[in-house]
């Protein structure tokens, strides 16, 4: 395994309204790794992901990309950083006034400075990759939830990100639609894309994650390979949580 | 250097006189116009088809034609049909007729915005239709219509200045007389503007209080 760190967080903390939401979170992601964040809702998974690309400005901590420290006060540096860190949102956040293809091209043109033709070509390739080449002229409202999320993935991929952050990409979707999104993410993981993903899909995490990070009350309490954390007979918080999740599923 | 004698002896007494007339226009026109609007709005939703059509036509007409034209009609044209109005009466009548049309639009919108399920749920609980309207529709519709109707009152305050067109001596008219006599347009109309700003700001404050008082979390327009 190539162990070069791509993204490193050092002591990220965030308080909102006097409440500590993140408490000194640190993590390192190496090239080609898939890290999965799990934990109860309200644990701070989503806040941590949004702090990584400073959609929420962390109060303290350092963010390193490819061995370079991010200067969060410098707008230009921040935009350049974000352009290299893809983000997939829980509720897709496609630009509602643009077609699927335009959603992919807009950042290429306005941020990367691509010509229209080149951006369109690239958008075609990325939509092809997520299996939506034939939907390129449809508007978000004409797409299903799963298709929207796949367009969002294509939009992030087109920027050639060093790492992609996925914030519960399937939790707004019905199970059968979640499947099509998960298979796209699986394809990316196999292709060696570096990713950090918050999810409740334990089977997916077990099968594909290189490492699982378990968060609770703003702290990363456990981390390790899925096999180690979820091993039969080991008394880890992660296992407790997963057992609870499984119970909930079974009772439903 | 402001001319204090001019302000104290000429301008302010005239404007205060005008303010009283303005209030005597706004308060009855606002009240009667609102009541008329509620009645008209209900007729336009629940009335028999013919009345509904008439109500829609009336509203479209009064909302489509400038208030200035309506006032001119009432004051200058109706005498030809043998209907005479004092300036004050003409202005008041015009305001009531026009406000009722605008208000009815909000009332109608509010009633129509209530989801069918709300009435169904009430009927399912054993309410009679009359009880359902009184306990379920009215409280919801009133909250829905409140911001629009309140806004309309603020418009009425501003448009009450059009009474000047039919020579009714309210704030605007008094101001115009002083301005024409002394040719101090900027000064006089700044003062008139401040009077109207005060009226509008007070009304806006009261309306926000009212809205807050009846606010229900998650209900109505965000």
């Amino acid at each position: 395994m190539n162990a070069r760190p791509v993204l490193r967080l050092e002591g990220i903390s965030k308080s909102l309204g006097g409440k500590r939401i993140l408490n000194a979170c640190s993590l390192t992601v190496c090239r080609g790794e898939l890290k999965v964040l799990i934990g109860p809702s309200g644990a701070g998974k989503s806040t941590l992901l949004q702090c990584i690309n400073c959609l929420i400005q962390p109060d303290e901590g350092e963010i390193w990309l490819d061995g370079k420290l991010l200067d969060r006060t410098d707008d230009g540096a921040l935009c350049a950083f974000r352009a290299q860190v893809g983000m997939i949102f829980q509720d897709f956040n496609l630009f509602d006034h643009l077609t699927a293809a335009e959603n992919v091209t807009i950042a290429l043109r306005k941020v990367r400075g691509f010509s229209r033709a080149r951006a369109e070509e690239r958008a075609g390739e990325e939509l092809e990759r997520v299996g939506l080449a034939n939907r390129r002229h449809l508007y978000p409202a004409e797409l299903s939830g799963g298709q929207k999320q796949r367009v969002a993935i294509a939009r992030a991929l087109a920027m050639d990100p060093r790492v992609i952050l996925l914030d519960e990409p399937t939790s707004a979707l019905d199970p059968e639609l979640a499947g099509e999104v998960l298979s796209v993410i699986q394809l990316l993981a196999r292709g060696g894309m570096t990713m950090i993903m918050a999810t409740h899909q334990m089977d997916f995490a077990r099968a594909l994650a290189h490492e699982i990070l378990f968060m609770e009350k703003g702290v990363i309490v456990e981390q390790g390979a899925p096999a180690a954390l979820l091993l039969e007979g080991r008394a880890t918080r992660t296992r407790d949580f997963c057992a609870k999740l499984a119970d909930l599923r079974a009772n439903r | 250097m402001p001319d204090i004698a001019f302000w104290n002896e000429t301008l302010l007494p005239a404007l205060n006189r005008g303010l009283l007339v303005s209030l005597a226009l706004i308060i009855p026109a606002g009240t009667l116009g609102f009541l008329g609007g509620v009645a008209l709005g209900c007729v336009r939703v629940f009335g028999p088809p013919l009345l509904r059509r008439l109500g829609d036509g009336y509203t479209a007409l009064l909302r489509g034609v400038p208030l200035a034209v309506q006032l001119m009609m009432i004051y200058y044209a109706l005498p030809k049909l043998g209907i005479y109005f004092e300036p004050y009466g003409a202005a008041l009548t015009g305001f009531i007729l026009c406000t009722a049309a605008y208000q009815s639009e909000y009332v109608r919108g509010a009633i129509l915005s209530i989801r069918h399920g709300q009435v169904q749920a009430a009927l399912a609980l054993g309410f009679s239709l009359r009880e359902a309207v009184f306990w379920i529709i009215v409280p919801q519709a009133a909250r829905c219509a409140l911001p629009g109707c309140g806004n309309e009152i603020i418009y009425l305050i501003k448009y009450s200045s059009l009474a000047y067109l039919v020579t009714c001596m309210e704030l605007m008219g008094e101001g115009k007389v002083v301005a024409s006599n002394t040719f101090r347009f900027t000064e006089v109309f700044l003062a008139v503007g401040v009077y109207y700003l005060a009226l509008v700001t007070i009304a806006g404050f009261l309306l926000r209080r009212l809205e807050k008082r009846f606010h229900i979390p998650g209900f109505g327009p965000r």
Partner: protein, 232 residues
């Protein structure tokens, strides 16, 4: 039918007045648009001072009656030594007022967009300027068209009081003809009809524009639901 002949005689002048009215409204509406968008952007994304200033501007122009503003600006024009030409004073007053109202329309539209739109644009590395220009405004302007149509019809009706300063618009020509012939009823009815037709015509045009820039799933009520289920 004496009154009918009077109306027919006055009609050419009234239609010429209609051109003045339309010109007045067109200039004011454009001025209001050009000023209203930056005002709205300033009120949402500006710093504390900018927000305060926009707030005061809107408070003033939404609180003072047009009639008062017309005479106030008449005085101001003279005070500043500008030519006190009625048409331009009316355009300035209606334009500044409309800017205040239009800024509130755009502001409402911008605030109604989900917060995620801006976040998504930022996450792609867009600068805030780019994000507002290419993601927020195109959506907000579309959402504003109904409000814009409403603003137009209000402005058209407001323009009917400009004759107090002496613009040669529909109202001025009508009252002139009425004073000469004493046929107030017929003439003002005709004027009312003219305003009514103008409103109707432009609202039809704006409705066409709305349909032209329409995007599936956008605001237009009934259509929003029609697509959401079918395409899965």
């Amino acid at each position: 039918m004496h009154s009918l002949t009077v109306v027919i005689d006055a009609l050419p002048a009234m239609l010429a007045g209609g051109l003045v009215t339309v010109g007045n409204v067109a200039v004011s509406l454009s001025l209001g648009l050009c000023l209203g968008v930056p005002l709205a952007v300033g009120q949402i994304y500006g710093d504390a001072l900018a927000r305060r200033l926009v707030h005061i501007y809107v408070w003033f122009f939404c609180g003072v009656p047009i009639l008062v503003l017309l005479f106030l600006f008449y005085g101001l024009f003279i005070f500043l030594g500008l030519p006190a030409e009625p048409f331009s004073i009316c355009c300035v007053v209606l334009g500044l007022t409309s800017a205040a109202y239009q800024s509130q329309i755009f502001r409402g539209a911008m605030l109604s967009l989900p917060r995620g739109q801006l976040n998504a644009a930022r996450a792609l590395g867009m600068k805030d300027r780019t994000a507002v220009a290419s993601v927020i405004l195109p959506q907000a302007l579309r959402l504003s068209i109904p409000g814009f149509a409403n603003e137009f019809s209000i402005l058209l009706k407001d323009s009917a009081i400009c004759f107090v300063l002496g613009t040669q618009d529909i109202m001025a020509r009508t009252s002139f003809a009425a004073a000469r012939t004493h046929e107030h009823l017929a003439l003002y009815a005709a004027a009312g009809l003219l305003y009514f037709l103008l409103t109707w015509l432009v609202l039809k045009l704006l409705h066409l524009l709305e349909r032209r820039v329409h995007i599936p799933g956008y605001a237009a009520g009934a259509e929003a639901g029609a697509f959401s289920g079918g395409q899965t």
